[in-house]
Amino acid sequence: MAGNSDLDVAYVARLARINLTEDEAKTFQKQLDDVLEYVEKLRQVDVTGVDAAAHGLPVFNVLRADAPRDWFTAGQALSNAPRQANGLFVVPKVVE
């Protein structure tokens, strides 16, 4: 399935937990190969000695006191759950 880049859309989609149809995978492969070809231009840039910028502005190690405060009740946190029971989110069985 892989195209002109190293990207294998079907494989990465599985990593990202997104099921794709074969048609979708094919279309995305072509489109993302184009995008990856376009970003190749970054290889031309000399980045020797340049620090990576995580943000545009310097913001570092913002901490707050680890103290309890009022926030959602369990009921509020569950208010949008697709399935819930006994004050818990319900999901399919994880361990056999």
């Binding site: 990465v12 937990r17 489109q31 840039v45 980045v47 707050r64 959602f72 697709p82 399919p92």
Partner: protein, 488 residues
């Protein structure tokens, strides 16, 4: 005053009428409702409205507060308590916000009435609002054209007089570009100036919330309410907030404006270029000194953006897994099936593409070549701006290289769509502020389409770009021309 006029006036004018008790907040809500009923079938700006709640708030609004009794539309990616927050995605089907975003709390504290949720590209990923999974939004100036995006619903609502003002979010141009294409004002504040607590995260190192309004003064009024530190957002800056309205004036003597030569690229529509040239002359005649500057890393900005934004999106959107809120695929046979199908059925194609690209550029073996390198080039983009801002107060460019394009014209080619953001993206990478204001019209097949002028400012220099924008606006009539929708 009759309905249509009430919806067409600026927030500042509305305030005068409210404070003189010539009109009541209830009348403003009623006028908006009528206007929406008349035109939103064609425009499609709103995803949801709660008129009853707005009427209730209007009944006891305090019009002497800074935004007392002013209804504000909210992009549907910002949480308003009790309201849906769909992000224009099927995956948030049924979700209702259990809390108010900080910006919504601040609007309420200033007396404003959060009024309706506006359409967007799904999770703010797009430049035309065509990636909305829920609704098509059209440009009020030409219904066959897009409103821009991703805050297309907010910009279209303000342009079509369906909202007095609105909030949008801007990750790579999503406030400024639709504002330009719809002929309204859109401000992207400095990264950290406005809290994102309660904004559904797309790319956390780029996202900012800002106002979409009919005038520059209105943008300043809303910024006065929004700006400031919020301990709930760790990237929020703890810096003093100036009075943005007080800094408005008409004299630009002593102001130095830079024209980045790299922004005068081929591919700019000739009518857009002519409008920008004329605006530069106008700013010069108001006293501003114009100098050419260079931002050599400009050509890499779009590539950097689509690596960093997708990487961050792939991490941020991992939370949409069908477990705690929103859509869940039916009858999953195990947890992997639950995740895989929920995300297959819940996300639209652009969101899937970006999550896949973002997962890839962060994956083992590719991280250094893509993500780390992009972050380093991002630093070069930031340095470019820091250097030119030693000599100029603000930069001038088109907001978008073209006026509004046709619906479906660009959807098949994501890369072409990405290049629509070429002038806006670098500001998000560098964390600086930017504003788009109307500066003319392109004539296309007998239709007038708005053109936007972008002003970029130093970090935390919103007051300066608002000042320049206001002086320009007050010396032109572009902002007074309204689309003819609903008047015939």
């Amino acid at each position: 005053m009759i309905g249509n006029d009430l919806t067409a006036v600026s927030i500042a004018d509305l305030q005068l009428l409210l404070r003189r008790r010539e009109i009541s907040p209830r009348e403003v809500i009623d006028a908006l409702r009528e206007r929406i009923e008349a035109v939103d079938g064609d425009i499609g700006a709103y995803l949801s409205l709660d008129i009853e709640a707005a009427v209730k708030e209007a009944e006891h609004a305090n019009v002497d507060l800074p935004l007392g009794g002013i209804p504000i539309a909210i992009k549907d990616i910002i949480n308003v308590m009790g309201q849906p927050c769909t992000c224009a995605s099927k995956i948030l089907n049924g979700y209702r916000a259990p809390y108010d975003a900080t910006v919504v709390q601040k609007l309420r504290a200033a007396g404003a009435i959060p009024f309706g949720k506006t359409n967007l590209d799904e999770f703010a990923m797009g430049s035309s609002t065509e990636n909305s999974a829920l609704k098509s939004t059209r440009n009020p100036w030409d219904l066959s054209r897009v409103p821009g995006g991703s805050s297309g619903g907010s910009a279209a609502a303000v342009a079509a007089d369906e909202a007095c003002g609105a909030l949008g979010s801007d990750t790579g141009g999503s406030i400024r570009q639709p504002a330009a294409l719809c002929g309204v004002v859109g401000l992207k504040p400095t990264y950290g100036r406005v809290s994102r607590f309660g904004l559904v995260a797309f790319a956390s190192s780029l996202d900012q919330i800002g106002p979409v309004t009919k005038t520059v003064r209105d943008a300043a009024l809303i910024m006065n309410a929004l700006a400031g530190h919020d301990p709930q957002d760790s990237t929020s800056l703890n810096e003093p907030v100036p009075d943005y309205v007080a800094s408005l004036g008409n004299d630009l003597r002593g102001v130095r404006l830079g024209l980045p030569k790299e922004y005068m690229i081929e591919g700019i529509d000739p009518q857009v270029r002519a409008a920008i040239d004329a605006a530069v002359k106008q700013l010069n005649s108001l006293g501003a000194e114009i100098v050419e500057v260079s931002l050599p890393s400009t050509e890499y900005a779009v590539a950097v953006y689509y690596i960093i934004a997708t990487a961050e999106a792939s991490a941020n959107l991992a939370r949409f897994d069908g477990v705690r809120y929103g859509y869940r695929a039916e009858n999953p046979k195990d947890v992997l099936d639950l995740y895989g199908r929920t995300r297959e059925e819940g996300f639209g194609p652009e969101v899937k593409r970006r999550i896949i690209l973002g997962t890839y550029v962060l994956s083992s073996g590719y991280y250094d070549a893509y993500y780390l390198r992009a972050q380093k080039v991002r630093e070069l983009v930031r340095r470019d701006f820091a250097r030119v801002f030693e000599n100029v107060d603000a930069l001038i460019s088109p907001t978008s290289p073209v006026a509004a394009f046709k619906v479906r014209e660009r959807v098949a080619d994501p890369l072409q769509m990405y290049l629509a953001d070429i002038f806006t993206i670098a500001a998000n990478l560098a964390g600086i502020c930017g504003i788009s204001i109307p500066c003319g019209f392109a004539e296309l097949n007998g239709n007038r389409l708005p053109i936007g002028l972008q002003l970029l400012g130093k970090p935390l220099a919103e007051a300066r770009i608002l000042q320049v924008a206001h002086a320009y606006e007050q010396s032109t009539d572009w902002h007074k021309v309204r689309p003819s929708i609903g008047s015939g």
